[in-house]
């Protein structure tokens, strides 16, 4: 099939790729651009491990053709920390044991980022509602809820400074 030239804006940088129009953003990120922090599992929008931000909103990158991301800001887990420090969300996932095998973690971190940008002081119920599109098989979710609560609290403190 004919490939189309495409510029993708990923984590603040511009990337030129040539892709088939049906190629999913997940595959282009992982296979063409090497952003393997975004994970692949069900490939049909069920598990959330491929969650990335598109103009600051969460999407399942396995369901979005890369061409549909043209002109939009794509953010992956690789852009969450600065070079030397974990982001408070990432630190919270480590501190609260919200990470076990870690395969769902990048997706959860992206969803948490979107949540906390919309709501900087979510209740446990709001957290559970917002993150229902991301499956985790290891933690039983206690550690993940605790991580989001800690991250929210840390971010509120930082934003006050």
């Amino acid at each position: 099939m004919t490939k189309v030239p495409l510029t993708l804006k990923v984590n603040g940088g511009d990337y030129q790729v040539e892709v088939e129009p049906h190629r999913m953003l997940l595959d282009v990120l992982r296979e063409e651009l090497g952003f393997t922090g975004t994970k692949e599992s069900c490939r049909e929008g069920e598990c959330g491990v491929c969650t990335v931000l598109l103009d600051n909103k969460t999407i399942n990158s396995c369901l979005l053709p890369a061409v549909a991301a043209r002109g939009k800001e794509i953010t992956t887990v690789e852009a969450i920390a600065d070079r030397h420090h974990l982001h408070p969300i990432q630190k919270a996932f480590v501190d609260c044991h919200g990470v076990q095998c870690g395969f769902c973690t990048p997706g959860f971190i992206m969803s948490t980022k979107a949540l906390l940008e919309e709501n900087n002081d979510p209740t446990e119920e709001e957290i559970r509602n917002y993150l229902a599109g991301n499956l985790c098989r290891c933690t039983g979710y206690n550690g993940i809820v605790d991580a989001v609560l800690q991250a929210a609290s840390e971010l509120r403190k930082l934003n006050k400074v």
Binding site: C47, C101, N142
Partner: protein, 770 residues
Amino acid sequence: MITKEKEKVVETTVVGRRLNRLDGPDKVTGKFVYGADLSAPGLLHCKVFRSTIPHGRIKRLDISKALAYPGVRTVITAEDIPSNIRYGHTLKDEIVFARDYVRYYGEAIAALAADTREIAEKALKLIDIEYEPLPVITDPEEALKPDAPLLHPDWRDYKGNPALIRYDNVCAHTSINTGDVEKAFAEADYVFEDRYTSHMVHQGYLEARAGMAHIEADGMVVITSSTQNPFGLLGNLSDILQLPTSKIRVISSGVGGGFGGKLDLGVEHFVALLARKTGRPVKYLWDREEEMKAAAPREGSVIYVKTGIMKDGTIIARQGKVILDAGAYSGDDTVIASVGAMLVRGPYNIPNLKVDSMAVYTNKANCGAYRGPSAPQTYYAIESHLDSIASKLNFDKVELRRLNALKDGDMGPTGQILDSVCMQETLTKAAEKIGMDQPRPKYTGRGLACAIWTSAGGSSCAYVQLNDDGTVVLITGGKEIGTGAMTMGVAQIVAEEMGIDITDVRLITGDTYATPYDFGAQGGRTTFNVGNAARIAAQDAKRQLFESVSEKLNVPVERLNLKNKQVYDSDNPAKNISLAEFAADRVWNGGPIIGRGSFIIQPTEYDTSTIKGGTYPVFNFPSFHTHAAEVEVDPDTGEVTVKRFVVAQDVGFAINPTGVEGQLTGGAVQGIGYALSEEIVYKDGVVLNPNMTDYKMPTIMDVPRIETIIVESPSKGGPYGAKGVGEAPIILPAAAIANAVADAIGVYIHELPITAEKVLRALKEKEEKK
């Protein structure tokens, strides 16, 4: 932290603390590399052509069109494998590709390697096959009937562990007999009998099975995959590839969840064969549909249980029949049948016991190990049964269990003498926490269930090397699969012994060429077994260190102590040397220090006359458990909501309480999914729901915050008194929830999962009976 170990009080500074896991930063930044992330220059992609019918004769198989498709480099079938090759752990009945017959929906028939995944998928559709359908057996009780057709007419020719008892469609039959059940049933005041069924479920790891292979110039096969058990694959790979194990190297990459599902061959044999045929590196990543129809799920089962009980509540006899639906090949069910037999008595002291536990061939995916193999269904059956007896005889459900609970010095089902028993403590704490004696509103119920559980044996080895900056590397075949066993537990043990911080420990793990042997990340054994090996290795390194420092500082070895990264004279702490200073010099004077440790659990004594056909005859350093649930049942829809869930688990000693709690909460939620919503649904041998929408794993919205109670009853064999932790939390939720549902609606559901449909039907039947 102060811990009682072997009746000795030990002061610790690293073990027992809530420290962060070492692989956390890599995992939260996306840097951690899993099997699914592997790549290599010139990589080819594997896809497997699988049977679309559950049972039949292959009349014609034509791969020519697929082979001719541009970008396809090779297609292999049974023709490429010597016809006498069958593999397996305890029973060699499995084949790489179906030959002449297919025995389950999803069985591998051919594999191909192509330039891209897309080409591989397209080429798969060009493989032509014609079957002659054969009668399908999907019910293990049907398969047990004398006139049932044999799924493996050649079963006698299969090589297996001589301890296995096999016949007809039964690939393993374990029986346990103690006392005289018939006599006891005759003497009992009451006898009750029930039948329970359970369903097939998937481990649900989010990283599908994945791996890659390449061949070195001398023919050495190098496989990297997300396996839980690199050494455990060598034997079967050696059979399939017809190579000595020394010509095969298996490296375990990052593992995105396993829960037992990545213990056996999944991708490794396919990529190795294709890499050898093409001379190129080949990768295989399963898709979710393959996972649901052809992985190594937990078997469905039918369980009969019969109990003789006295008026005062003393249980005097138990009989059980466990029928495991093993699927088309034995998988791990030969051993699982034996484990199931051990569980029928439960955590109670019942003197008269008769158990038959069978793994039976049917036309379904062959089943494997899934966290707590055979336990969730067996405990569901026996604990639901006991609960219903308590209801019928009007016994208090906690007191009836307490009355019969195992105590120190009691015997296990096969005569082993039990110690460190704390059944009652977990029961009391869980019952109190959930409020068993508190009033509840209509359609709200509380229930609990109790268990004894084991940890796997097998051996483990480790090296501990002192680096030139005073940090250490732990080198072991053990593997971190997410639990924290390596990156918390074992790392903490090494840090404790070496007087350093956990962050001073680096891990090199799971490589059959570069690391010493380990029996695999399975059976809740890593912290226990690798922990012991690593501790011995660290103590060996410390001994060498002290001998050398003794000479250097002119202080007798007995007076030396190691703390805070420093070796010092305990009589004169000013006389000291830092690990870093010592290690930097030692590289050039005497050579670097490396300690080694090898560990295997001492076999537990038992009465061999009590068990026949058993490949798992004792509980290794057993632990004790009570789970309690509070549920709400919607009488209009039948839907069950778990409002509260309490896990009280004996962990021996919590090396890292946070890590322990992570196992308790994670296992409990998997167990809740097993109880209520997850099921691989078969109809006439075909899987109806091979995706994650229709296979319903609990989301964060479906479950409450799991409440945990850590009970510490130290074991004599585990490091610092630890017991195996990871498996057990999954074994009781189904039982506890079934009992809570019965408490809410007055009916015991005898068939898992407890779906809204079944609850509604039970409510209606109850209404009609009135």
